[in-house]
Symmetry: C2
Subunit: 739 residues, 2 copies
C-alpha cells in the first residue's frame, strides 16, 4: 500500500445544499480539521480561547460546507487501485466526482472508502458537509444532540462552550492498494481460567483470496508463534502468556502481532496486543445485602478484577482534550496520559458526551498500563427509540467496538453518562441501550458492559465543597456508602497566572457573571447557586470575601486540594464495599476560568492535580477528619488509617501524628502498626486534642509521619474559624461579589 | 398437509447408550408422555400423588430410554414428503433408522424434523433418550439443572418433588407434506403512536417458491385486509385497529389471520392475532428519586402500560400445572385460566423454573385478556458463562421467542427467577442474561425485557404470616415501599378433605415431619423454621395448639385468607409507586399438603382463592389494619380507603364501617366519599374504638358496607387474644406437634 501526498483542499461555506460556490467563497482547508478552524483562519479571527471570542463561532455549524480537491495522479500497476480512505467525518456528507454523486457517509467513527481507480486524474472531488444534526424543536442545548450519535458535548456543557465542530475531522488518505491487500485483522484470544495459556485466533480479511503469515513476538521481540495460511481465521495456543497489567499491579506486557500477505507489494500490518482478563465482580459481602424480606436484588458488580486480582480503581474522568477532534494527535494525548500515570491512576473513564478517542490514545494507554472505561456517545439526553437514530447509533457503535476491542487497556463498555436519571430520562427498556448491549455482546462479550453510570449502588457527585445545608465535602462522603464513585467533583478557580491569559485585564477583578468569567464557566453553570464552579460561596463562607485575584485563587486551590484528598481517601477507606474513585474531571477541552478539573487546557496541572496524586499513592497514612473548618478551642479528632491498594504488602512500622499550628508542632500519638496486606486497609486509633483557644492563623495542619517511610507521609491543611472572622452570611443573601 | 395415524410406540429402559434391548424389556409407550409414566403404568405402580409413592420414581431419569416404532406406510403423490415433526423433546436424543444414525436433537422447546420420504415403510425408527442432564459434581438438587436449559423445577423445589421427567413429551407427528407447504409464518406490526393504524408485516417461509394469499378478518369475522403475493414478506396498513385489552380494561379483540398457499393440496394456516402495545414505564414521581448527591440511578420501570394506559397489575405466579409436560393439554389449562380471569387477575407471571407453556396456554390467555410475563428456563441457579450451556440456551430461547412473540397476551420477557440474589449468584455481566437480552432485542424488541426478578425497587417475599421478630404480614407490607411485588406468599395447610385424599389415614393426625406431610411439602421446605408452609408456628402462636385436622386447616385457612387480602390490598394502596402484586403461587403441579398456592392440584380452589378474588375486585372499600391479632380492650384503629383499578370512575357514595363481635354489630363511622377517578385510590378517615374488654370469641370483624353498592363491600376477620389463651411459647421451643 502506498500513500499519496495529501492534496490541497479548498472549502466554501454555502447557504444551501444546492448552492453553487463562486470563486471568492473559497478558502484554504486543513484536513483533518474543522470548517470553523478554516473559517476563523481565513478571516483572521482572534484566539477563540481568549475573552468572549468564542461567541463568533456560534451558528457556523448550520451551513453547508463544500470541501473540494482533485483526484491525484497515480501510476497504478496492474491490479492496483486508487482509494480515498477515511476514518470517519463530522458528521454527514455527500461525495461527488465531477458533480456526479458517488458516495454518502454519516459518522465520526465509521470508516469509509471511495474507489477512484477509474476516475480521471484531475477530476474534481467534492465533499459536501451537511449542517450539524439538531433534533427539530429541541432547545439550543445538548438536547439537540439526541438525533444522531454525534457526540453531544459540543452542543454546550458546563465546561464546554457551545461550538459544534463540523467537517473532515478524521484521517483521510489517498492510497494506492495492491490487488491483494489486508482489509481487516482481528486478534482475539481466550485465556485459560488459570492464565496458563491463551488460545489465539487471528482473523484476516483480504481484498482477494491470498495466503498470509502472521507472527507473534513477545515483549522482548522474540518470535513465539508464527503461522502461514490462506484461511480467513487461524488459531494457535500460546503457553504461559505474559499478562498485561496496569502499571500499579505489574507491567503492561505488550506483544507484537505482524501479519504479512504473501503477495507482491503487500504491506505488513504491525499491532501491539496484550493478554488480560477483565471482569466486574461483586464486592466482598455484597451477597449479604439486601437483608430481610421482601427482598430486592443485590447491587450489580462494579469491582474490577484484572487477571484474577481485584483492583481498587483510582482514576478520573477523561474528556475530549480539544473542542475540535480534527486537531487531536498523539502528541495531544501524550503529556496528559503521562500525568495520569504519574498520578497513580489505573482507570480512565472516557465519558460518553465526548467523541471516542483516536487510536493513539488507546495505544498509549496500552503502553502505560492504564485501564479505560469507554462509553458510547450518549450523555444526559433521552435518546429515542426512533429507527433513524438507532440505525445511526448501531453503525457508529459497531465501528467503535471493532476498533477499541483490540486494545488490552479496554476495561469495560458503558452505554453513556447518567441516562437513568431524570435529566437523562432513559431507562432499562430504551432501545438504544438494549441495542448497545446487544452489539457489545455480539462483538466483544468478554468485556463487561454497563448500560449507564451510575447504576444501582454507584453514585455520581457531589460536586460542591459545601452544600446549602452546611455539610462540607468531608461530611458528605463520610455519610455515603456506595460501591463506586465514578464521578465526584471539587470545584475551584484556575490559577491566577492562567486566568490572566484568558480573561481580559479589565474583567479580571472582581470576577462577575456576564463577563469572560462566565464565558469560561466560572458562573451560572449549575443551578441553583450561580457560583458553584468558582466556589465563591464556600470561599466566602470560610474566609470572608477575598480581596484580590491572588487571594481568591489561593483560597480556592486550598479548598479544592483538601476537598479532593478527602474524597479519594474516604472512598479508599470504604473498601471493599467501594472499589472505585474517579473524579470529575481530569482535563479540559479549552481554558476554563473555574472547573472541577485537575489539569488546565491543554496540559497544565493545577495544584489539585498534585493533591490528588498524593491521595492516590499506592500506600499512605490517611486521616478520616470529620470536617474541614474547626473553631478555636474545639476538640479535634481524626481516625488514623493506613491505605494500601498496591499489589505488595507494606511492612510493619510506626505512624507519628502531630498537630501544627502557629509554628508550633505537637505530637498527638504514635501508632505501631503491623504488616499491612496487599490491597487492604488498616484502621488505627483516633487522635483527639483541644485546638488552640486563641490562634493567630486561620489554619492548622495534621501531619502523619511514618517512621523511615517518608513516601507514606501525609498532611492535611484544615481551616480554623478565627474569632474576628465575619459572621456567616445569611443563607438567602448572595455573596457581594455576585451582585 | 396430511397427518398420518399415530403409530404405536414401544419403550425400553437401557443401562447404557449402546445396550441392546431384549424383547422382555419392551413396554408400551404413550407419546406425548414421559418414560416415568410408561414405566409406572407397565409395572402397576400406585398413584404417585398418594403418600410417599413418589419416592419410587427417583433415579429413573439416569437411564437411557429407547423409543421404537416403525416408519408408517404412506402413499405419496409426486413431490410429497413424509416427515416426522416434533415440537421438542425432553431432553437429548439420538434418532436411528434401521440402526443408522439420522438425527440428534436437544431441547424441549426447539422443534425438529426428520425427513422419512426415502425410508422404507416398516423400517425401525429408534429414538434414544439420554439421561437427564445433570451438572457434574453438583448436589442432587436444582443446582444440577444449571448445565442445560432443561427447566430446573423438576430437580426438586419446595412444592415440587424431585422427579425429573424424560422422554417424548411434546407433539410428535408423522406428516405428509405437499412439495409446496408453509414452513413458518410471522405476523408483526407497528402501531402508530396514537393507535390510529397498524403497519402489518406478514412473513411467510415456504418449502419452495410459491404464491400465497393472506387474509385478515376482524373480531366479527369480516375480512379487513387481504393480499396475494409470492414475496416472502408482505405489508399492509390496517386503519383504526381494534385494540387487544386485558379483560379488566376492555375487550381482548382478536383478529384472524389466514394464510393459504396457491398450490394444490396446500393447507391453510389460521391464527388469532391481536394489536396492542405494551411498555414498562416509570411510575409517577419516580424521577424525583433518589434525592440529593451523591446520586444513584432512579429505579427501573416496572409499571405496565397497555395501549397507552397504565395498569395496576394484579395477578399471580403461574407454575407448571403438572410434573409431566407430556400430560398437559389445553384442557389442563382451561379451568385454571378461567379461575384466573374470574379472580380479576390481569397478569400471570410464568415463572422461569418451569417449562414454557404450550401454545394452547397462550391462545387461552389471548382470548381471556390475560397478560403474560414470560421467563426463560432459569431459576435460582448460577448458570455459567460456559459455551456449551450458552449454545443450548441460545437455541431454546430463540425457539421460545419465535413462538410466543406472536401472542398479544405477551407482556414482557424475563431472564429468569431470582438470579441477582445470593442463591442465584448471577449478575448483570452473566453471559446467559446478556445473551437473552440480545435474543429478545433481535427477535422481539418491542416487548420489554427484564434480566431477572426482582430488580432494583422490586422485591420478592415475604412468605410468612409471622416472622421470628414478631411482625405479622399486615405489618411487614405496610412497612415496605417497593415498585412491584412480583412474589409474596402466605402459606397454609390444604383443606382437610383434600389432605385425606393424599395422606394415608394413619399419618393424618398429628402432622409430622418424616411422613407424607413432608413428602407433600408441609415440613422442612424453608430454613430455618421447618414449619413454614404448614404455618404451624403462627397458628400455634395465635390460637394455641390445634386439636384436630379440621381445626388446623380452619385456622390455617383463616390466616391465609386474611394474610393474602392484606398484602394485595396494601400493594394497591401503595399505588402509584407500586403497580404490581402477584402472589406466590397460583397453582400446583401435584398435590401439596401445605403451600402458598391458591388452587390445589389439579384445579381445586382453596379458600384463599376466594379471599384473593375479593381483594382483586376492580373497585372495593378497603381497610389498612395495623395488625392481625388484637387484645381485649385495646384501641382498635384502621384507615379506610377506596381502591379502583378499573378503567372507569366510581360514583360518589357512602361507606359505613361497623365492628362485629360476639354477635353485636357497632357502627363506627360513615364516610361520604366523592367520585373516584379511574385507576385511582382514595384515602379516607380512620376508625378508632375500644375493643371489648371481656370478649367470648377469639375474633372480631371489621365490615365496610358501601351504601347501594354491595359489590364494593369488604370484611376483615381479625384475631382477638383471649385472656385464657395459652401464653406465647418461648421463641426457642418448637411447637409440640413437631417434636
Amino acid at each position: 500500500m502506498r500513500l499519496l501526498p495529501a492534496p490541497t483542499w479548498r472549502l466554501a461555506r454555502l447557504p444551501a445544499a444546492d448552492a453553487q460556490p463562486v470563486s471568492e467563497y473559497w478558502i484554504h482547508a486543513v484536513v483533518p480539521g474543522a470548517v470553523q478552524l478554516d473559517w476563523a483562519r481565513a478571516h483572521g479571527w482572534p484566539d477563540l480561547n481568549f475573552g468572549q471570542n468564542v461567541a463568533a463561532y456560534d451558528g457556523l455549524e448550520d451551513f453547508f460546507w463544500l470541501y473540494r480537491t482533485i483526484v491525484p495522479a497515480a501510476t497504478l500497476a496492474p491490479g492496483e487501485r486508487l482509494v480515498l480512505a477515511g476514518a470517519g467525518l463530522d458528521y454527514h456528507a455527500e461525495f461527488r466526482l465531477d458533480g456526479r454523486p458517488v458516495l454518502t457517509h454519516t459518522g465520526l467513527q465509521t470508516p469509509f472508502e471511495l474507489d477512484l481507480t477509474d476516475a480521471a486524474p484531475g477530476a474534481t472531488l467534492d465533499i459536501l458537509i451537511h449542517p450539524a444534526p439538531k433534533r427539530p424543536g429541541a432547545p439550543a442545548d445538548r438536547a439537540q444532540a439526541s438525533a444522531t450519535a454525534k457526540p453531544p458535548v459540543s452542543y454546550g456543557w458546563d465546561w464546554h462552550p457551545r461550538l459544534i465542530p463540523l467537517g473532515l475531522s478524521e484521517d483521510l488518505r489517498f492510497e494506492v492498494r495492491p490487488a491483494a491487500h489486508l482489509r481487516h485483522v482481528d486478534f482475539t484470544y481466550a485465556l485459560a481460567e488459570d492464565f496458563s495459556a491463551a488460545e489465539i485466533t487471528v482473523s484476516v480479511e483480504t481484498s482477494e483470496p491470498a495466503g498470509y503469515t502472521w507472527t507473534l513476538r513477545d515483549p522482548d521481540g522474540q518470535r513465539v508463534l508464527s503461522a502461514s495460511t490462506s484461511a480467513s481465521t487461524s488459531t494457535a495456543t500460546l503457553a504461559t502468556p505474559r499478562l498485561w497489567w496496569t502499571h500499579d499491579q505489574g507491567k503492561p506486557a505488550l506483544y507484537t502481532l505482524e501479519v504479512a500477505l504473501d503477495a507482491p507489494g503487500a504491506d505488513t500490518l504491525t499491532r501491539r496486543v496484550g493478554f488480560r482478563r477483565v471482569r466486574l465482580v461483586m464486592h466482598e459481602g455484597a451477597w449479604a445485602h439486601p437483608i430481610g424480606l421482601p427482598k430486592s436484588r443485590s447491587h450489580p458488580p462494579i469491582t474490577l478484577e484484572l487477571n484474577g486480582r481485584r483492583l481498587f480503581a483510582l482514576g478520573t474522568n477523561w474528556i475530549n482534550p480539544d473542542i475540535f477532534p480534527g486537531r487531536i494527535t498523539a502528541e495531544t494525548y501524550r503529556p496528559l496520559l503521562a500525568l495520569a500515570r504519574d498520578a497513580h491512576f489505573n482507570l480512565l473513564r472516557c465519558w460518553g458526551g465526548a467523541p471516542v478517542a483516536k487510536e493513539s490514545f488507546f495505544e498509549q494507554c496500552d503502553a502505560l498500563g492504564l485501564l479505560v472505561w469507554q462509553e458510547f456517545p450518549l450523555a444526559c439526553n433521552r435518546y429515542p427509540d426512533d429507527p433513524a437514530y438507532l440505525a445511526d447509533l448501531d453503525r457508529e457503535s459497531r465501528a467503535i467496538i471493532r476498533r477499541v476491542r483490540q486494545h488490552p487497556c479496554l476495561a469495560l463498555w458503558c452505554g453513556g453518562n447518567e441516562l437513568f436519571n431524570s435529566w437523562g430520562g432513559m431507562d432499562d427498556q430504551s432501545h438504544a441501550l438494549r441495542m448497545l448491549g446487544r452489539n457489545c455482546f455480539d462483538l466483544d462479550r468478554h468485556t463487561p458492559f454497563l448500560s449507564t453510570s451510575p447504576l444501582d449502588g454507584m453514585a455520581h457527585g457531589d460536586y460542591r465543597f459545601r452544600t446549602p445545608d452546611g455539610r462540607d465535602v468531608f461530611q458528605i462522603f463520610q455519610q455515603s456508602a456506595y460501591t463506586a464513585y465514578p464521578e465526584f467533583g471539587c470545584p475551584g478557580p484556575s490559577p491566577a497566572d492562567y486566568l490572566r491569559i484568558i480573561i481580559p485585564a479589565a474583567e479580571l477583578w472582581p470576577p462577575r457573571p456576564g463577563t469572560s468569567w462566565e464565558t469560561h464557566h466560572a458562573f451560572k453553570v449549575w443551578s441553583p447557586d450561580p457560583n458553584y464552579w468558582i466556589n465563591l460561596s464556600a470561599i466566602t463562607h470560610y474566609f470572608g470575601e477575598p480581596a484580590s485575584l491572588e487571594q481568591l485563587t489561593a483560597l480556592g486551590e486550598w479548598l479544592q486540594c483538601e476537598g479532593y484528598k478527602s474524597i479519594y481517601e474516604e472512598a479508599r477507606r470504604q473498601h471493599p464495599k467501594c472499589s472505585m474513585a474517579l473524579n470529575w474531571c481530569y482535563n479540559e477541552c479549552w481554558p476554563c476560568a473555574a472547573n472541577n478539573s485537575l489539569i488546565n487546557f491543554p496540559a497544565s496541572p493545577k495544584p489539585a492535580y498534585f493533591a490528588v496524586r498524593e491521595a492516590c499513592r499506592p500506600a499512605l497514612a490517611s486521616a478520616r477528619i470529620p470536617k474541614f473548618q474547626w473553631s478555636p478551642g474545639e476538640s479535634f479528632t481524626a481516625e488514623l488509617w493506613l491505605l494500601n491498594t498496591a499489589s505488595a504488602p507494606q511492612p510493619a512500622g510506626e505512624v507519628v501524628a502531630t498537630l501544627e499550628h502557629d509554628g508550633v508542632s505537637t505530637e498527638l500519638l504514635r501508632w505501631s502498626f503491623p504488616v499491612l496486606a496487599d490491597r487492604r486497609n488498616l484502621a488505627g486509633p483516633s487522635v483527639r486534642c483541644a485546638l488552640p483557644a486563641a490562634p493567630r492563623a486561620a489554619e492548622f495542619t495534621l501531619r502523619l509521619r511514618v517512621v523511615g517511610r517518608p513516601d507514606l507521609d501525609s498532611a492535611y491543611r484544615l481551616g480554623l474559624r478565627l474569632p474576628e472572622a465575619p459572621p456567616e452570611p445569611a443563607p438567602a443573601a448572595a455573596p457581594a461579589l455576585n451582585r
